[in-house]
């Protein structure tokens, strides 16, 4: 049985096509991630699947019901944590939970017990009587997760659940998500532009770019698309930049930032050979980085671009440099 079935989904805003005919299926009890850069159409897809936006064409079945024909049936069976906050900031954590429960048809002791259980699960029980406006970003996120679970949804949508949070809080929220899957066997549909998040959490990943799904599979399957170790070279004189030809080099790409990207079976063995080749041709290499393929390489391989925003690229570059030093 599938929790989500999407066929040829198209969503247009006027002339702009945000989602360009995507199809995918999510099995019950699995964590499925949409990975892609900002503006790829991930959030639009979530809003269509959660009945908040009307699709332009195609078909989407969520928790056994058509999002266009039976939006009310879909709404009863889903929970969602939006990318942007959606709490009532003037009210307390408890009141936010209580109002959600009432709207979803819960009440009495059943509701009270559920609120207590869930606020304890996200470790906010002691702050239950505090207005939400005094909560940190991470606490608000946790409260939103607890709230989305209150009515025991069959399918949970998490739209960029850790965006803007510090690394510690992110890891914390990942733990909750894993626990939800294990304890409740819940189907979780996740969108993210963090590769590590998709890799940590998702059973299967669909890589999305410019409104299309460009690859789909487990993290391992996706990495096999690239297959090889990846070496990045920076040359002293950019005019020397051209692809080296040698039998051990499986692939070569000139990058827009002035580096050469090489694919080899084993980087440790290939590097000395590359240095020899460079010496022979009198090309001076000023920087070398190499690593095992990541989902970012998959994205780069498929699109020729990096997945993340400018600022984050820097931190990744320094991460790779650190890994090299080890």
């Amino acid at each position: 049985m599938y929790a989500i079935e999407v066929e040829n989904l198209v969503k247009k805003y006027g002339d702009f096509e945000a989602v360009k005919g995507i199809s995918f299926k999510v099995k019950r009890g699995e964590i499925f991630a949409f990975l892609g850069p900002n503006g790829a159409g991930k959030t639009t897809t979530v809003h269509v699947l959660t009945t908040l936006l009307k699709l332009t064409s195609g078909k989407a079945i969520v928790a056994g019901h058509d999002v266009v024909k039976e939006p009310m049936e879909v709404r009863k069976r889903i929970g969602i944590v939006f990318q942007d906050p959606s709490l009532d900031r003037e009210l307390t954590a408890y009141e936010n939970m209580y109002i959600h429960g009432r709207i979803y048809g819960l009440g009495g002791n059943e509701l009270k017990n559920k609120i207590e259980e869930l606020l304890k699960f996200v470790e906010l029980w002691e702050f239950r009587n505090k207005p939400v406006k005094y909560f940190s970003g991470g606490m608000q996120r946790r409260l939103e997760i607890a709230r989305a679970l209150l009515h025991e949804p069959e399918v949970l949508f998490l739209d960029e659940p850790t965006i803007g949070l510090d690394p510690q809080t992110r890891a914390h929220i990942w733990d909750y998500i894993k626990a939800m899957k294990e304890e409740h066997n819940m189907t979780i549909f996740l969108t993210t532009h963090y590769m590590d998040e998709a890799e940590q959490l998702a059973d299967r990943i669909a890589i999305m770019d410019h409104g299309k799904i460009i690859a789909e599979g487990t993290a391992e399957e996706l990495k096999k698309l690239v297959g090889n170790d990846v070496i990045y070279l920076k040359l002293e004189a950019p005019e020397d930049l051209k692809c080296l030809k040698a039998e051990f080099i499986r692939g070569c790409k000139l990058l827009s930032d002035g580096r050469v990207r090489l694919e080899v079976v084993n980087a440790a063995e290939a590097l000395p050979k590359i240095f020899d080749l460079a010496k022979e041709r009198n090309v001076k290499i000023v920087e070398v980085t190499y690593h095992r393929p990541t989902l970012n390489d998959v994205f780069l391989y498929l699109t020729g671009r990096e997945i993340r925003d400018e600022e984050e690229t820097n931190t990744l570059a320094s991460m790779i440099r650190m890994r090299m030093r080890r």
């Binding site: 009307k54 709404r75 889903i78 939006f82 906050p85 709490l87 109002i99 959600h100 709207i103």
Partner: protein, 256 residues
């Protein structure tokens, strides 16, 4: 009924959270009542002026107007606050819920109206300290008139908010709408003394009928302009119409 009672509950809860705002809401009409009303009351303390104001002192004439003004202001702001729900995201939580949206927004309007009525009651009780000739027996029926007014302008605020993207345009709407509607309502001077073009505007101003209706109960027939059935009828029809439109518009609301 679930969505209705829950959303009404939310509005009332929010009101009890914001006590400092409550003080601010009451200060504004008090300023009108004391510095405007009490100030002019000495000027108008002569038989000729009393004749113009239906034979009562100026503060008694003004008090129902200030009451209606308070209700009108607060219910409109309450309705428009849907825009904050848009900006802070709570609207999405409501739209994605498996509950009747029509009921939800009706609950919100009713909750807001009850909150507004509480403020109106406080103002009304305070006016009794200043004005001499108000009827205590008129308080409850005047609150009834206030309720119709609150529901109407709450609904109007919701309709506006659903069409607005940010709070920026709102300041302008307030400036353009609020003061003229108050001046053209007969709250501060009788409609009959207005130039004819102003009087025409006063006739199509819903606030006029709320002020007049409140005067029926709080002061008496000699100060009023229209029949009580006209006042209540106009307000009731307007409230029904605006709430109806608000419910239909909210049903269609989407995000982004």
């Amino acid at each position: 009924m679930r969505a209705l009672t829950t959303m009404a509950y939310r509005q009332i809860k929010r009101f009890t959270r914001a006590r400092s705002r409550v003080v601010g809401m009451i200060v504004n009409p008090l300023i009108w009542l004391v510095f405007f009303g009490l100030g002019w009351s000495k000027v108008f303390d002569n038989p000729m002026a009393r004749a113009i104001f239906g034979g009562v002192d100026y503060l008694t004439f003004l008090a129902p107007g200030i009451f209606a003004m308070t209700i009108f202001n607060q219910s409109f702001i309450g309705g428009v606050s849907v825009i904050w729900d848009k900006q802070f995201g709570f609207l999405k939580e409501v739209l994605v819920a498996p509950a009747s949206r029509k009921e939800g927004i009706l609950g919100r309007i009713l909750g807001d109206s009850l909150v507004t009525l509480t403020q109106g009651t406080i103002i009304l009780l305070l006016t009794f300290l200043l004005a001499e000739n108000l009827k205590i027996s008129g308080i409850l029926p005047a609150l009834g008139v206030g309720f119709l007014l609150a529901v109407a302008f709450s609904g109007f605020g919701v309709i506006l908010a659903l069409r607005m993207e940010s709070m920026e345009g709102f300041q302008m709407i307030m400036m353009v709408l609020m003061l003229p509607l108050i001046f053209l309502s007969g709250a501060m001077y009788p409609i009959d003394t207005m130039p004819s073009w102003m009087r025409a505007l006063a006739y199509i101003n819903p606030l006029t009928y709320a002020v007049d209706g409140a005067r029926h109960f709080l002061v008496g027939e000699n100060v009023t302009k229209f029949a009580l059935t006209t006042d209540v009828g106009v307000l009731a029809l307007l409230a029904l119409f605006l709430v109806g439109v608000a419910m239909i518009e909210f049903e269609k609301a989407t995000i982004g």
